[in-house]
Subunit: 343 residues, 2 copies
């Protein structure tokens, strides 16, 4: 039997500054033979995540491995089992796993990282990588456990039109927030925040200093900041937070890419003056919350209280362009690559 191959997206070299198309290439790689207990999966959807940006660099990440030049990227994906040597996951099953950025993958069911088989009857496939996937779970953990959103809170979310941000705005309201404010880049995204994602008010961080926007939109201050960007917006939030306020630190996209406006770390004096708590978190520390999360968000989706919105790009050959577009803010909601599955 001829060794099988799959097309994969490889990192050609570490980016020198901003990543460019030439940093990535689609290549053909052998697939290992299917061992006892393993699955051959054909990927249908692949998740494109902001956290991939940091993994392109060489600095240690503490919670994950970096990509290696010459090797395939990886990331969350959802596929259908084509061949199975694992009786509990027969061919035809849909599984979520970590071996995206390739058309096919051989994996152990254990590699599916707790997510495993999904039920396509319960929600459309893309939703399992978006609102019901790690993206939604990140928003849920950050709000419900890290920032402890309570009824009546005023909640501020940055990168609010992005995958996590568009989930966070909607979830914050379902968790009882009285007022939800978001920032995004440009008037179109800001309009969507209010129209589709249930934000009470939106501000364009490119058009107005965020500190002024918060003073205008939340004159009484905010209770919670869900931080996706760091920099100037984090500093602005520190000033807007009321005593006892809480910050969920989810990412710092501003340290990469276009919005390089930063601030002095001594703005943290606000945390002393107002007894603020800032907590960084990694969602995989909070798997115990997943059943509660899935059940609540599935209910909210069914009732139409929250809306799954995806930006979908077709074809493995366009996957790295999708990543570059995401890093430039080109997505609304969850960014996904769809594979046609005919290769």
């Amino acid at each position: 039997m001829t060794a099988r191959t799959t097309r994969v997206v490889c990192l050609v070299r570490r980016p020198d500054g901003e990543p460019v198309p030439g940093d990535f290439a689609v290549e053909e790689r052998p697939l290992p033979p299917l061992g006892e207990g393993q699955l051959l999966v054909r990927n249908l959807y692949m998740s494109v995540d902001p956290s991939m940006r940091g993994r392109l660099e060489s600095t240690e990440k503490h919670y994950t491995h970096n990509f290696t030049p010459g090797s395939p990227l990886d990331g969350r994906a959802l596929g259908v089992v084509e061949e199975s040597r694992c009786p509990s996951v027969p061919a035809g099953s849909f599984v979520r796993h970590q071996l995206g950025w390739r058309e096919r993958a051989v994996l152990d069911p254990a590699d599916t990282d707790g997510a495993g088989r999904i039920d396509p009857e319960l929600a459309p496939l893309p939703t399992w990588l978006g609102l019901l996937g790690q993206t939604g779970f990140t928003a849920y953990v950050g709000l419900a456990r890290i920032a402890e959103v309570r009824p009546g809170d005023t909640v501020f979310v940055s990168a609010a039109a992005g995958a996590v941000g568009s989930a966070a705005g909607q979830f914050a309201r379902m968790l009882g927030a009285e007022r939800v404010i978001g920032t995004a880049g440009g008037p179109d995204k800001c309009a969507l925040l209010v129209k589709e994602f249930g934000y009470d008010a939106a501000a364009d961080y490119r058009a107005e200093p965020v500190r002024e926007a918060l003073a205008r939109l939340a004159p009484e201050g905010i209770d919670v900041y869900f931080d996706n960007v760091g920099g100037e917006q984090l500093a602005a939030a520190l000033h807007a937070l009321r005593p006892g306020g809480r910050v969920a630190l989810c990412g710092m996209m501003s340290q990469f890419g276009g919005d390089r406006r930063s601030a002095d770390i001594n703005q943290l004096i606000q945390a002393v003056l107002k007894r603020l708590t800032l907590r960084g978190f990694i969602v995989r520390d909070h798997e115990d919350l997943r059943p509660e999360f899935e059940s609540r968000v599935a209910d909210w989706l069914r009732s139409g209280d929250v809306l799954a919105r995806e930006t979908v790009v077709d074809g493995l050959e366009n996957a790295s362009a999708a990543l570059l577009s995401l890093l430039a803010g080109g997505n609304i909601g969850k960014m996904l690559v769809r594979l046609d599955g005919t290769s």
Copy 2:
């Protein structure tokens, strides 16, 4: 009866940049008559606190009032009751209260802020403003509750020769820390950290970048950072913290005064990567811990496990100079002004 007066230290004007002697003046002010339930107290010791620096400015503090030009300063003090119209606090009692920066004060026992009468047999008077006072309580709350120091932790304390820092190093060890590292300005203070305050190692932040010092003195990383200064040292700690690490944000002296080295707020990306928690705190939110604190620290003092160290300046007319000296790092341990009591 002639109205009584007292000498007070007044704020003449808000400092323009660094405070200078001319910003303060000793003046004579009338004392109100002693009302029902009130005490006339002659102050014996007055606390000189870094937090006074911020109160000289006009920006809102959220947790206290700012000083007002033309009015007396205030602050923690300890005095003896000269006249009492409160049966439960007879003349001759020693009380802690908030009306320092003056020789005599008329106060309601309620103004003593829970501290109230102290027992001079249990510990020397200065200790009641230092290790057994708000200074020690700040160190205790920051370590035991905010940073949750656990047996085996490596703990880093900045401004470690100061009042709170010299308490924090000693308390950290008593709370089970395995290794305690401190920074201070200059070789003399660094030597004292190890010799008197029980630090395992000390680094001179003026002589070496703190990030390098921590890499050298805690190559395995730190678990807790007790932050008194912010700026470069906070950034260095973020890099040295191990996953799950905790930061007690107690003050940010680096945003005033000589050590203006700062850092980018995006260094907080470390908090995401390593799931760090940073918490600002104000000690008065934690009065429930005070009985436990007083009992444990009194034990530690009795057994000689911790050492009370004070820098004492004599005379009300030297009080503002004592504050300027404190802000320039001129104190070891707790800075106090002693009043001779003969005026």
